[in-house]
């Protein structure tokens, strides 16, 4: 198969296999956007059907229409040969359709068990919660997912990766017919992913139909049997995974081959912007020393929970170090608060955009100018014109897809939300830019753009620290890579010469620290 099949006859090659679920001609509009235009999609029992498309293509919206969260204006849902329509998520669930949301949808004041069984608590007569069953069922699910936290832990105390696992655990509450995973791996590391993939495969073997949304091609090719591509809210073809390749799928997705990120890495480093000496936070990380120079990109690689984000938070004034010092441009400083950090020219793009990076109720423009209100206002009165100029500049540079500046950020697609956060921090013109998982949930095209952007920023003189759990990303953008394991730096590598094996060993604690010579000391 060379050209992607776009007409119906060709598409249903395997007409013998009847789909359990068919979405036909779904159209969904939001004020100012046609999110879906006449989209059809089907899922067979026992298959993983990947759904692909750029940020804002309408993947999540399509699945929300399926799961009763949105109601499509046109089109129909056919489940096991019968036309159904769901007025709320409860009805969809009762029909065996489970949606694992892209944005975490958890209640932080409740326990893990209550969150997993949210909306389906086991009850005894007359309305009593069956705690024993709840706990034992939860324990079963947690052990199946190899989770280290317990049923009684408060969800609010868990790290993002663990929260993500709680979200995923919901798929196992009862045997559903259809499970939709909307970017389930966005906050998981390579460590937790195999567990998820095992779960998906075992669901599939039990005849469950699975929809898998992700921007990571490797996952899609490893897991799926078929791939459907959406583009700008329209159906753009379905292909058998076995008969296609990444390039073809990318072309379907963005209408051209992916321009490889040809921009070169920065090469000229000047003096230290940031230097960290023996920094520790009790019980979180220990004895951290590294530096970032003008025009340099340093990658920080490790498993979730290795303490990378916490280091960033400490530099940004969100945590008090218990020992060690932070030097900015050679001067020892105490960063008292994020406000102080911004004033000193530090910017932190946090890892969880919804919880830390955005005011979801505000519009795009106001979010972008949030950190820089001082420069768009005079005597405390904001200038809408200047605000708009700034917004338009970053909207253009980052290619943020929105119907207009007045759109609420909460209504944007996940990837576009992330771009807004990055844009917001660029407006503060920092000297040191710390990016924590900068391309989580961002489509391949925009990812390349953001990588190029990061390099350009470094070349224009910013010092950049990139925290990432994706090996290609750290290797692709950074000059040096710092590997972390369990709260400590295990090694430092030159990103252009290190091998994948060396990196994996370093972040799983198998590295011999003796060979980890500080490269910056050696003048690399």
């Amino acid at each position: 198969m060379t050209a992607p099949a776009t007409n119906n006859n060709q598409r249903s090659v395997d007409a013998s296999i009847k789909p359990v679920l068919r979405l036909e001609g779904i159209t969904k509009r939001f004020p100012g956007v046609v999110a879906l235009n006449n989209v059809s999609f089907d899922v067979r029992a026992g298959e993983v059907h990947a759904l692909l498309g750029e940020n804002g293509a309408g993947k999540s919206t399509l699945m929300k229409c399926l799961a009763g969260k949105h109601q499509a204006e046109e089109g129909s849902i056919v489940l096991e040969g019968q036309k159904v329509s769901f007025s709320d998520p409860m009805e969809a669930k009762q029909h065996g359709i489970v949606l694992i949301h892209q944005e975490l949808s958890l209640v932080s004041d409740l326990t893990v068990a209550e969150n997993i069984f949210l909306g389906s608590l086991p009850l005894k007569w007359p309305n009593r919660v069956d705690w024993k069953k709840l706990r034992s069922d939860t324990d079963k699910i947690l052990s199946r997912l190899q989770c280290t936290f317990r049923a009684d832990d408060l969800v609010g105390d868990l790290s993002i990766a663990k929260k993500q696992m709680v979200e995923i655990a919901r798929a196992l509450v009862f045997t559903p017919k259809i499970v939709v995973f909307d970017e389930p791996t966005a906050s998981l590391t390579d460590h937790e992913k195999p567990v998820l993939f095992n779960v998906i495969n075992s669901l599939r073997e039990h005849g469950v139909g699975i929809v898998y949304i992700s921007h990571r091609m490797d996952e899609i090719f490893a897991l799926s049997q078929r791939i459907t591509v959406l583009r700008d809210g329209e159906y753009n073809g379905t292909v058998d995974t076995a008969q296609t390749n990444e390039d073809e799928v990318t072309k379907l997705m963005i209408g051209r081959s992916l321009e490889l990120d040809h921009s070169s890495k920065p090469t000229e480093f000047k003096e230290n912007v940031l230097e960290v000496r023996n920094l520790s936070v009790e019980g979180v990380f220990k004895d951290i020393s590294f530096n970032v120079r003008n025009g340099e990109i340093v990658g920080m690689y490790g498993l979730v929970g290795a303490g990378r984000s916490e280091i960033a938070e400490t530099i940004f004034g969100l945590r008090r170090p218990s020992a060690g010092e932070i030097l900015l441009e050679g001067e020892s400083v105490t960063v008292k608060s994020p406000h102080d950090a911004v004033a000193r020219g530090i910017a932190l793009v946090p890892e969880s955009r919804k919880e830390q990076g955005l005011v979801l109720g505000l519009n795009c423009r106001d979010n972008i100018t949030l950190s820089t209100l001082g420069s768009v206002s005079s005597l405390g009165v904001m200038s809408p014109k200047k605000e708009l100029e700034i917004y338009e500049k970053y909207q253009r540079e980052l290619k943020i897809k929105t119907p207009g500046w007045a759109q609420k950020v909460g209504n944007l697609s996940g990837g576009n939300q992330q771009k807004i956060v990055i844009g917001k921090w660029l407006t503060t013109h920092p000297k040191l830019l710390i990016l924590d998982e900068p391309t989580r949930g961002i489509d391949v095209g925009s990812k390349a753009e953001i990588h190029a952007l990061i390099k350009d920023l470094a070349k224009s003189g910013y010092a950049v620290l990139v925290i990432s759990s994706e090996m290609p990303e750290v290797l692709g953008v950074s000059n040096r890579v710092i590997a972390m394991y369990s709260g400590q730096i295990t090694a430092e590598f030159n990103a252009d010469t290190v091998t994948e094996d060396e990196l994996v060993q370093a972040i799983t604690g198998q590295h011999k620290p003796a060979s980890g010579t500080p490269l910056h000391a050696a003048g690399v």
């Binding site: 709320d88 949808s105 209640v107 004041d109 389906s120 309305n127 919660v129 105390d157 019980g283 369990s486």
Partner: protein
């Protein structure tokens, strides 16, 4: 790490408000010889039962992420009905009073559910409107109980404990069990903690909110009746400011204003704290206006401490 966890568990086990209740009990015992007597404690129990009953329902509504400002007005209306309709027999009067409370609660709940307007606004309107109804209904007159059984009830005792106190404690127990053990109780937390997540998970958010508004309506009506039995009368101004005292007690008890967190045990502590402070300062002959100043200051102080404690446990980081 283990140590830190244990310590926070010990603190989590005893709610801060109960430490406060113990502290002021000890304090007033030293300040007044009348304070630490059974008779005085029965007094406190009866005095707090009115606010206490409403606070039980308010706890549900607030955990649910809403608020009800109309409880004082509902209390007045129910008290007026319970006293005025006694000519048709006590059962009719009580039935009418309770029904009025539940119906008005349902009305609040339905408007909040169906229109999505903030409950603060909806019940603020209800508060003003229902108070108006009370004045129309009573023609600005006070009613006096005609059935002696009614006023006798207010001073009766069960096993030498005031009946009103027993009713309050039994209601506490039931409401505690419902909140912690039932699906409705747990879903109330879920909706208050993250309404969107709850809806996404298939919880019928609106229904739970409606039920909770009906519950608080019921308790406001019940409190109206018990208050009227104590006075043998109903006045149109009955229950003014009660919504504020109720909310104060609930918040003192550790329930989050934003919803998603709280408990009946905490609310009981909050109600008792206010009752003990008033009673104790009364015994010490602190002038009434100073009592208000002190209560206000204590409310803010307790919340500041509470937030400090909560922050600390929240900062605990898992590696």
């Amino acid at each position: 790490m283990v140590n830190v966890k244990n310590i926070s568990k010990v603190f989590g086990g005893i709610q801060p408000i109960w430490l406060f209740v113990i502290a002021i009990t000890v304090f007033f015992s030293f300040m007044s010889e009348y304070f630490l007597t059974t008779g005085n404690f029965m007094n406190i129990l009866v005095q707090t039962s009115t606010i206490g009953l409403i606070a039980l329902g308010m706890t549900y509504v607030m955990i649910n992420g809403n608020i009800d400002l109309s409880v004082g007005a509902i209390l007045a209306l129910s008290a007026a009905l319970a006293v005025d309709l006694q000519s048709y027999g006590l059962p009719v009067a009580l039935f009418a009073a309770i029904s009025a409370g539940i119906l008005l609660g349902a009305l609040n709940g339905l408007i909040v559910w169906k229109t999505g307007v903030n409950s603060f606004i909806v019940t603020l309107g209800a508060m003003i409107g229902i108070r108006g109804l009370v004045f129309i209904y009573t023609k600005e007159q006070s009613f006096y109980a005609s059935d002696f059984a009614f006023s006798d009830f207010g001073i009766s005792t069960i096993a030498s404990i005031p009946t009103l106190g027993v009713i309050f404690l039994v209601c506490c127990l039931i409401m505690h069990l419902v909140l912690t053990k039932t699906g409705h109780g747990r879903n109330t937390f879920a909706v208050g903690g993250n309404r969107e997540a709850a809806a996404d998970a298939g919880i019928r958010v609106g229904r739970h909110m409606l039920i909770n508004f009906m519950i608080v309506g019921f308790f406001a009506a019940l409190a109206g009746i018990t208050l009227a039995t104590q006075m043998g009368a109903a006045t149109p101004n009955l229950g003014r400011d009660y919504e504020l005292w109720t909310i104060t007690a609930v918040v003192l008890g550790g329930t989050k204003l934003a919803g998603g967190f709280g408990s009946i045990t905490g609310t009981l502590g909050g109600v008792l704290a206010i009752g003990i402070l008033r009673n104790g300062m009364n015994l010490m002959q602190v002038p009434a206006f100073y009592v208000l100043v002190i209560l206000g200051a204590i409310l803010i102080a307790v919340l500041i401490i509470d937030q400090k404690v909560n922050r600390k446990s929240g900062q605990e980081v898992n590696v």
